[in-house]
């Protein structure tokens, strides 16, 4: 057996993402929403004024700041992008179970654990690539449009967002490894994502969950103290996802 089997599988997974154009599509979505965030913040006062004037209502909107751009960016990345990622990756394993491609690998000298880990690493790659590009694009336009933008804080916020997005992707891979239907995997991933997001209302719980990462992003903008506990909690959460996937997949019969 090849000792570098994990590398071989990961290389194939990433190549498959390019071949199926999933990677390009996801990257484009990341870029679009990264650009939209500062632009929306910039034009929001004008949009509100024009709407309110047409209704004969006068609304005073303060001039936009970089904080508005970053708030919009955090929302886009952790809500819309997460939703897109669930749809795109809900079949990452389930679809291969459905169409039989997994059998092709399972009859080769490959440990099932390696197959699962390669899937997790491939989504990790997607998340890192997406957030890196988004950070550069959104950071550039926010810097261009607004004064007082602190790039160092934005970098740290992107780290929190990245871990949040990875945790969403790990939930998707987990359900995709447990279920044979990608639709079931997608629905359950979305429900789990919503439930975790709702915990942000309860600080004591969210401090140890991915939802706490968003709270920390917002805290940074408010200038209040930030905690790194959500990172630790999310890492534990993601490890549990990987372990459960491995256990479930090792028992799966083709």
């Amino acid at each position: 057996m090849n000792k570098n089997i994990l590398f071989v599988l990961l290389k194939n997974e990433i190549a498959e993402q390019f071949r199926s154009r999933k990677f390009i599509v996801v990257l484009v979505v990341f870029v679009v929403f990264a650009i939209m965030s500062p632009i929306t913040a910039l034009f929001m006062p004008d949009i509100i004024s024009s709407v309110s004037e047409s209704q004969n209502i006068k609304i005073e909107v303060p001039p936009p700041t970089w904080i508005d751009a970053v708030v919009q960016y955090v929302k886009n990345m952790t809500q819309i992008i997460s939703f897109v990622l669930i749809i795109v990756y809900m079949g990452i394993i389930a679809r291969e179970k459905e169409n039989g491609i997994l059998v092709f690998l399972l009859v080769k000298p490959v440990k099932r654990t390696a197959i699962i880990v390669s899937k997790y690493l491939s989504v990790l790659f997607v998340a890192i690539a997406g957030i890196t590009v988004s950070f550069i694009v959104s950071g550039f336009y926010t810097f261009l449009f607004f004064e007082g933008f602190v790039i160092k804080d934005f970098l740290l916020q992107n780290l929190f967002i990245l871990i949040n997005i990875i945790s969403t992707l790990f939930i998707v891979v987990l359900f995709s490894s447990i279920f044979k239907s990608q639709i079931v995997a997608g629905i359950l991933s979305f429900v789990a994502y919503l439930l975790i997001s709702l915990t942000s209302q309860v600080e004591k719980i969210s401090e140890f969950l991915p939802s706490g990462l968003i709270t920390q992003c917002n805290n940074m903008m408010k200038g209040t103290e930030i905690s790194f506990m959500p990172i630790l909690g999310t890492l534990v959460f993601m490890s549990i996802c990987v372990v459960l996937s491995i256990i479930s997949f090792s028992k799966w019969e083709a």
Binding site: V8, G100, V107, K108, P109, V110, E253
Partner: protein, 311 residues
Amino acid sequence: MIKCVNLTKIYGKSDIPALNSLNIEVQKNSVFGFLGPNGAGKTTTVKILTGLMKQTSGEFYIGGVRNDINSVGLKSKIGYLGQDNKMYGGMTAQNLLMFVGEIFGLSKKDREIKAGEMLEMAGLSMSANKKISEFSGGMIQRLGIAQALMGNPEVLFLDEPTSALDPIGRKEVLEFIHSLREKCTVFMSTHILNDVERICDSVAILNKGELVAYEKTEILKNKYSDKLIEIVFAKNEKDINIKDLFEKIKSVEILKSEKSSVVLLPTDMRKAKIDLLNFIASTGIDIERFEVKSASLEDVFVKLVGGTKDE
């Protein structure tokens, strides 16, 4: 080369085993036909032997080594082509074989040489750089066998390799399988009797999870029925009821009846010939052919499996 000892599979809480205490041994460098109607348990057996499914009880050995689900050692000894042969459609044939070679730990140079050999053997050299999604059914099956041979397997498992193919594709694939005999042991499950008769050295017949016959192909044909009588009726005899007519003759048993022909299994050949010819003469039925013939594998199959269908 392959040994199954009391191999049993029961799905979920079912009372009826999908595979019941299978005991077979397959000789090295032979083509073994695993025959049975749909739902007989063939695919279940192949999935257990390839480590895709766990048996409920029993053991199996490949090359003398006991194996189980998830055994990586087993996977390095086998090649497998499934019933529904799915591969990465976006890859080219060359890329797919290079990827498989990489999994087996071959160096880049060795992978290139081996992939070239396999493409040539499968008759796909001209399509090496074509996307798999653009291949015909026959080409996909041949590529499937080629990728299964990339790791120099000791045993090649083929699950219904020709069932989805047109006659030309089927002929190509069967010839390809036949040529593999010297390279490895082939375990081929199928419900197409003609395929088994054409290329298999030995055969096992499975029905409802039970092994009903297991012999060398020729021995099986001789053992279960040495001589049969086939009568083909003239085209103008459209309205005869074969079953009603021939059931009256006690010296024969109807093995298979079709619209214009009947295959009969005699209990006493001499008496059966006299009875049948007298019967035909007395009733005036117009016939085209009256033939005493050796049993084909299909006749044996019908006798063994068809007879148990209604039980």
